[in-house]
Every structure is written in C-alpha cells, then in structure tokens.
C-alpha cells in the first residue's frame, strides 16, 4: 500500500469518527475484498466470512474515534478480522478439521499411484497452502498476499517479531513436507 493511500485511509477514519457514511462506503469499497479473503481463509466458510465483513466494518464505525493512527488502517482491519474469525472458529469448534486435512495429504506419501499422478506443481502448491494449519496459513497470507511487514504481522497476530519470522519459516518447512508427501520435489529443503 502506498503512503498516499495510507494517509487517505487515516482521513477516512477521521471522517467516519464524525459519522460520515460516505467515508465509510469509500473505506469499505477499498478494503472489503481483502478483509473477506483473509477471513475466508481463516474460517473456510463463505457465509461466515461474509458475516465477518459486516462485523469488522461495524466495529470500525464504532471505534473510529479511538483509532490513533499508530498502524496502517489496513493492519488495524486485518487485526479486527482475525479476532472476529477466531471467535467464529471457537464457536464452530472445527479446528480439528484442519489437522484432518493435513493428515489426508501426508497419507498420500503411502500411495505410489498418487505420486505418479501428481498434479502440476502450481496446483499442488495451492492445495498444500490450503492444508496448512490456521496459524501457518494466516502468516503466509499476511506476508505474501497482504504484504505486511514483520512489525505489522506481529501487531495483527499479537506475537513478538522474532516469533513471526520463525513461524513463517516453519510454515514454509511444513509446506515443503506436504509437497514432498504429494510427490512434488522443489530442491528445498
């Protein structure tokens, strides 16, 4: 995100704090797709992810006056989205499903036919990215797709900066394991 957009996001938040609906529409138009995708990747349910968006932006409407501008507005939005998504996940209690998904891919290593019929690397990579644990998935998305710095990820996830770095490293190692199990060798690690 450019510095200009970040500055104009701050202006929008200032106007929202004054009750400006038009500013809310602009902010929503600018960020709702990324908020939706981040939430969708965490909760894995389109309807729940859509409900999350309205909850997130309603929080923005209510809390805009308290926003201090210490972080980018997009970082603040993702932090709220994460909090809402985790609450929704806790309600659904389907975290176990993620482990099942990961195990399903690991089991593929026992089946030589699957390895022979392996899909192309890109498709396999996308499947394995989907099969990562929620912790690993969110950090990969935040860094690669939402282009957040180490400091910003630390703020969104609520962990120290060093943990951000090591968590992404081990997420990538896990991804390499899943790919290997699916019969894809990339020469690393």
């Amino acid at each position: 995100m450019s510095a200009t957009q970040a500055a104009s996001d701050n202006v929008l938040i200032a106007r929202i704090a004054q009750g400006d609906r038009l500013a809310m529409q602009v902010l929503y138009g600018r960020h709702h797709v990324r908020v939706f995708r981040f939430g969708f990747r965490l909760v894995r349910d389109e309807q729940v992810a859509e409900d999350l968006i309205s909850e997130v932006f309603l929080d923005v409407w209510r809390q805009a006056g308290k926003f201090e501008g210490r972080s980018a507005v997009s970082t603040w939005l993702l932090a709220i989205t994460r909090f809402k998504a985790l609450s929704a996940l806790r309600r659904r209690k389907d975290l176990e499903l993620d482990d099942e998904a990961a195990n399903a891919i690991e089991d593929m290593s026992d089946d030589p036919e699957v390895a022979v019929q392996k899909k192309d690397t890109s498709e396999a990579l996308r499947e394995c990215l989907t099969a990562l644990s929620p912790d690993h998935r969110e950090i990969v998305d935040l860094v690669y797709y939402h282009e957040k710095s180490v400091e910003e990820v630390a703020e969104i996830v609520g962990i120290p900066e060093n943990t951000v770095k090591t968590r992404l490293f081990y997420a990538r190692k896990k991804l390499a394991d899943l790919l290997k199990a699916a019969g894809v060798e990339r020469g690393w690690p």
């Binding site: 202006v11 309205s54 501008g69 996308r126 710095s149 990538r172 020469g187």
Partner: protein, 232 residues
C-alpha cells in the same frame, strides 16, 4: 517423514534466511533488502530457497485471488446495522494528526493554494519586520536601567534561537511515525523538503553545543531517521 522432521529440527534458520519471504514480497526496508541481495549473490543454496519462496509467493496470491469477492449482502447488512446505531456526536477526542489531515483534505485545491500564498506573504512580512528591528538594534544595544557600567549589556539574538537540524526520514517512514517523532522532540518543520531533507526546529529555547550534539545523536538513532545534521 520422521527423517524430514528431524532434519527440520536440526536446521536453525539464519536471520537472512528468515527474511527471504519479506524480500520476495518487497516489504523489507532498504538496509535489510540490501543485506538479503548480497547474501543471495554469494550463496547458491539460499538462492535456490529464494526461488522456491517466489513460487510460494505467486501461488499464495493466485489462491487468494481465486477466492472471489463477497456478495452485496454483506454491505447491505453493514449499512442496515449502521442505520440502527445511535446518532454520532462530533468527537473532540479524535487524534490530532488525523484531524489536521482531515482539515486539509476538506479544503479545495484553490482554497489550499490561496491559503499557502497568504501564509507565504505573512512569513515575508514577519521576516521584514524582524530584519528591520535587527538593523535598528545594531546602533542601539540593549541597556538595563540598574546597570551603570560603561559597557552595554547586550544579548546575542542568534544564540537565543532554538536548535535546528536538517533531517532526512527513512523511505518507509509513515506520516504517523513522523508526527509522533515531532511530538516527542517538540519539533516543528520550518522548511523543506529540499533534496528529501526537512529543516526542523526543536523546542522553544536555545541549547548549548553539547546539548545539541546529544540531541543529534539521539535523533540519528531513531529508526525512521536516516540523516540528522545540526544547522545554524
């Protein structure tokens, strides 16, 4: 699988290795980006890992983009909820940088241009008045009524000026960070930006040479400051 896991545990990643994903995403500051570039140039294993990261980066974007967009239902639901919220009173506790930014954003370009011109004119007038006073005071230095020595007691106006410095902010410095720094140092921007440098003034009192040197050292250690030089 066990062997791979063991290998993972044995392998402690280096700092540069851990920064590779941010380098691929282009979100490292200039210093770290340079460190990573240098390491990639001399380490083929690292370069191989970086190639794998670039694949992951591209496919993560592809995957997220394929998720589509939410339906208009989400927006309708949001604005229905906003309609149900109590009417908003204008907030007085709004953060100052946002209020300043909001004020300027609301002005039309023409109003802004006129305001800038008037501001410049006021500065010129002020400079003229101060200049005239200085010229006048060269012939008549300040004397106290209670002191009767033949030497007049004079006050050097130059020393009474608060310290100033030319400051270059880091390329990734944000407006909010700069505003915070200005607040912390009780500083104001009095000129700039020429060649990316701003002229800052600190506080409202004169400082000694050592005090100014300490201030510059402290400023130079700020993460968002890449250069700070004291100026007259």
């Amino acid at each position: 699988m066990m062997a791979t896991s063991k290998k993972i545990l044995e392998h402690e990643p280096s700092e540069i290795e851990m920064l590779l994903p941010w380098h691929a995403a282009g979100t490292l500051d200039a210093r770290d980006a340079r460190r990573v570039e240098e390491a990639l140039a001399r380490d083929p294993e690292l370069a191989k890992q970086y190639a794998a990261i670039q694949e992951e980066y591209a496919e993560t974007i592809h995957l997220n983009e394929s998720l589509g967009a939410p339906s208009s239902r989400a927006m309708q639901k949001l604005f229905a909820a906003i309609d149900g919220e109590p009417a908003r009173k204008p907030s007085v506790s709004l953060n100052i940088p946002a209020r300043i930014a909001g004020f300027f954003a609301r002005l039309s370009p023409r109003t802004l241009a006129w305001s800038a011109s008037l501001g410049a004119l006021a500065l010129l007038l002020q400079a003229g008045v101060i200049g005239a006073m200085l010229v006048k005071s060269q012939n008549a230095s300040f004397e106290t009524a209670s002191l009767s020595t033949s030497e007049p007691l004079t006050r050097d106006l130059r020393q009474a000026v608060p310290p100033r410095a030319l400051v270059r902010f880091a390329p990734d410095a944000r407006v909010a960070d700069i505003t915070t720094l200005l607040d912390n140092y009780q500083a104001s921007i009095v000129g700039g930006a020429k060649a990316g440098m701003f002229r800052l003034q600190f506080g409202d009192r004169a400082m000694g040479r050592d005090e100014i040197a300490g201030l510059m050292r402290k400023l130079q250690n700020e993460k968002i400051v890449s250069l700070a030089v004291a100026t007259p």
